[in-house]
Amino acid sequence: MSGTIFDISKSGRSAKAQMPKGVNEKHNIPKNYLRKDKPLLPEVSELQVVRHYTNLSRKNFSIDTQFYPLGSCTMKYNPRGVHRLAFLEGFLNHHPLSLDENSQGFMACAYELQEILKVVTGMRGVSLTPMAGAQGEFAGVAMIRAYHELRGDTLRDEIIVPDAAHGTNPATAAQCGYKVIEIPTGPDGNVDIEALRKIAGPKTAGIMLTNPSTLGVFDQNIQEIAKTIHSVGGLLYYDGANLNAILGKVRPGDMGFDVMHINLHKTFATPHGGGGPGGGPVAVSERLVPFLPTPIVGKTETGFRWLTKEQCPQSIGRLSAFMGNAGIILRAYMYARLLGQEGMIRIAEYATLNANYLLTKLRKAGFTPAYPKRLASHEFIITLKNEARDLHINALDVAKRLLDYGFHAPTMYFPLLVPECLLIEPTETESKEVLDAFADTMIKILEEAKTNPELLKNAPHHLPVRRLDEVKAARELDLVYNPQLPSDV
């Protein structure tokens, strides 16, 4: 029953209740402008569609069904009420080019979210338009560039990025035309401050950091780092992917950062949707406010209004045709309102509590923390390098075996500098019981690794498919269904 939708397609079939009515074949279009063939789209009934995709969905792990401790991704509970309310027809049927006076409901939410984000980041200006973290990074680095350029400071062509950084950081810097200078991490998980001092200089446009870092530790030298970069005329970019670790506790603005993004689909609990959509608002300190991407919602006496190029002439411009992922903005706003001040403060506390609790349990059970002397932030790394050496099982095997037990695997092999690593982020919405069950399972798997390693090597056993051949996928590219080729129904 797991063929593709094309395998159940049959010429002449359709979901009749969905067909437009009263359409004849009349049109004003010259013949050579017309399509002649029938595109390869499925021809199926409504029940077939519902059944096919319902059953497909059942092959996914998700927060709604499993513990999903995917490090760096903040897979916390996505409130259903928020999703439902974003589907109110007044929002859904709202055209992005409506008159401002017909858009006050949405704009009020967006405006208030801008204000909320200023408060929690300690920044002075916010633009909600970037559509994911990476686009927020792009906006941020573009603003850094615009800032230097406006000051005529045009020789700066380097962006410093730690070796632990997420791939989007160097990729973004490169997309903005910068050279990427990698900086190493010290044995304590902090940026090697000596190395930084050597690297930073007149060519430094800025540094991209996340703190706590993707190593799951808070860089205690952050003030020193800020001083170093600022003193050479560079700016600091904060990658907000880990904001959940400090929300309500510490503010990037106070750490000395000049610009940052916030991943709404992480910290603000908007559903990740199997790959997106996200939201990557950027927040900036005073000096970068003029460069914020547009549109931004402004407030006047008569109501809210869009600020665009005209009002923000130094803006780096527009990153989406309309207002970014407006529906995600709505959802993040609602989530913030459901939390309020108290709820917001608790996020970092309980996310951190859960991470340290799980780390403690795993350490006691014999797992090796990557940074044993450090407290965890909202996430932490264990390295299986010993197990790989002694038992010949690796992080991938453990990850796949976890799936068998109904747990989504942690992030594997990232950050790149820690060998055989698992980056584990429980988030604050998981209960002690779930963490205990996860720890027990990890212990069980470690036991299996000793007594029956094949169980791990061949995992998963109980999923819709066994371990998949990625090499074949890349070598013998099969990216679209070919009705001529046999399919495995």
Binding site: I5, I63, L85, N93, V120, H272, G273, G275, R337, Q341
Partner: protein
């Protein structure tokens, strides 16, 4: 503490296990000087019931006008099954499918999506989405530049018949790359079509070809495609994907077909929703696949030889290639693609074609009605898809405001982006509008333009 499941006893027991005595201890590595967050300015906490009331009030402010605005975002019927199934927790609350075995639902769906988009575009391959149509166009241009590896600088031709907001986005994104020059080309004021007449120079990296163009006008895509191919540049199609069920698809344009097709996926089952989330799609010829940005899913087999799906060609992406990646994109618009895939399955080739055709017929019906009104000029004489430009005597902004009083959103005023099109209004009619809706629009427009012109201060 909404959403936090810990009881007091849990918290206590957990702190004990960790071996600290308070929450504050967990943050002791953070310099205390930094622990200064003050959230007292936040608006008060609401429970779901209060939030619901607030959001109902706000949603009602953005209320139910009959929408004749198009301009890149189109109101179509979306079968209820689309979002009912898309909203299932397993689709909604999964992450990017990094663990393939635990994500076969999303992965297979993406493979099906790629097939459908490639099919619609008559091209070989598709990625699994980009942010939106505008940023997809920017990525397509960067892709063309990467393809033309040897060149030091790249000239890309960007017609003014492309959505003005897309052009702004392209400028913001591609503009970061100093070696790419964007050259705008003009349109014919009679036909509304892109004209190549004034172009000088010979070496171009790419020509962007819209279909339909921003005015709703159909371009002669065969001619444009062949032209750029003769210049050894790539043809980048930016199209309304729904229209491709009716119109000649990019892969079949001209003698060799367009090389890249991109655009906004919104017409395929995505609600207007104040502008997003939508998604950008991107298709290309097989030999360009390694230049593509974004996720791509491939079909493979599992350890027992059974069919399965994985993310593939990841060496193009930031998490592997880092600074050398094709793009910095990571999170894309997966859920929208889920909806679109279900939408396309429900509509099928015939449903899409009928939707496109009905929209076209409704627009032609409005065109006929309006052409009979004195004071209204249909300014372009080319074939159109489902949008239409009229010129009136009154300031368009005022007319729009007046029609809003009759619960009509009349369209998009062109003047701001096209000074030469003063008092011009871009109107869209999709299949969602009835004959009565169109007649009501015509009647009210007539009433409004028959009124003496008022000054803005009065409205």
């Amino acid at each position: 503490m909404p959403f936090i499941p810990h009881t007091k006893e849990d918290t206590k027991a957990m702190l004990e296990t960790i071996g600290v005595s308070s929450m504050a201890d967990l943050f002791k590595e953070i310099p205390s000087a930094l622990q200064t967050a003050n959230l007292s300015n936040l608006a008060p906490q609401l429970n779901e019931s209060e939030l619901s009331r607030l959001m109902h009030e706000r949603a009602n402010l953005d209320n139910h006008l009959t929408c004749f605005i198009g301009a890149g975002a189109y109101q179509h019927h979306i079968p209820a099954a689309v979002w009912e199934v898309t909203s299932r927790g397993e689709f909604l609350t999964a992450y990017t499918p990094y663990q393939a075995e635990a994500s076969q639902g999303t992965l297979q769906l993406l493979y099906e999506f790629q097939t459908m988009m490639a099919g619609l575009m008559a091209l070989d391959v598709s990625n699994a989405s980009l942010y939106d149509g505008a940023s997809a166009l920017a990525e397509a241009i960067l892709m063309a530049a990467r393809h033309e590896r040897k060149a030091e600088t790249h000239k890309v031709l960007l017609p003014r018949t492309i959505h003005p907001l897309y052009r702004e986005v392209v400028k913001a994104i591609v503009g970061q790359h100093d070696h790419i020059e964007l050259i705008e080309i003009d349109f014919d004021l009679k036909t509304g079509q892109t004209t190549l007449e004034k172009i000088s120079g010979d070496r171009f990296t790419a020509l962007v070809i819209p279909q339909p163009n921003f005015f709703g006008v159909l371009e002669d895509t065969d001619e444009l495609t062949d032209w750029i191919h003769k210049k050894n540049g790539l043809a980048i199609a930016v199209v309304n994907p729904l229209a491709m069920s009716l119109l000649k698809p990019p892969g079949l344009w001209g003698e060799k077909g367009a090389d890249i097709a991109c655009g906004e996926g919104q017409p395929l089952g995505i609600p207007l929703a104040a502008g997003g989330p939508y998604y950008g799609f991107l298709c290309c010829r097989q030999d360009l696949v390694r230049q593509m940005p974004g996720r791509i899913v491939g079909r493979t087999v599992d350890a027992e030889g059974k069919q399965g799906f994985v993310l593939t060609l990841q060496a193009r992406e930031q998490h592997i290639r880092r600074a050398k990646a094709n793009s910095n994109i990571c999170t894309n618009q997966g859920l929208l693609v889920t909806a679109s895939t279900i939408y396309m399955s429900l509509m099928g080739p015939e449903g899409l074609r009928l939707t496109a055709l009905a929209s076209h017929q409704n627009t032609v019906f409005l065109q006929e009605k309006l052409s009979k009104l004195s004071g209204v000029n249909i300014i372009f004489n080319s074939p159109l898809f489902h949008e239409l430009v009229i010129k009136i005597k009154q300031p368009v902004d005022e007319v729009i405001q007046k029609l809003a009083k009759f619960k009509i959103q009349a369209g998009f005023a062109l003047q701001k982006y096209y000074p030469e099109l003063g008092n011009c209004l871009l109107i869209c009619v999709t299949e969602t509008k009835t004959k009565e809706d169109i007649e009501f629009f015509t009647k009210k427009l007539k009433e409004v333009i028959d009124q003496p012109v008022t000054t803005r201060a009065e409205t």
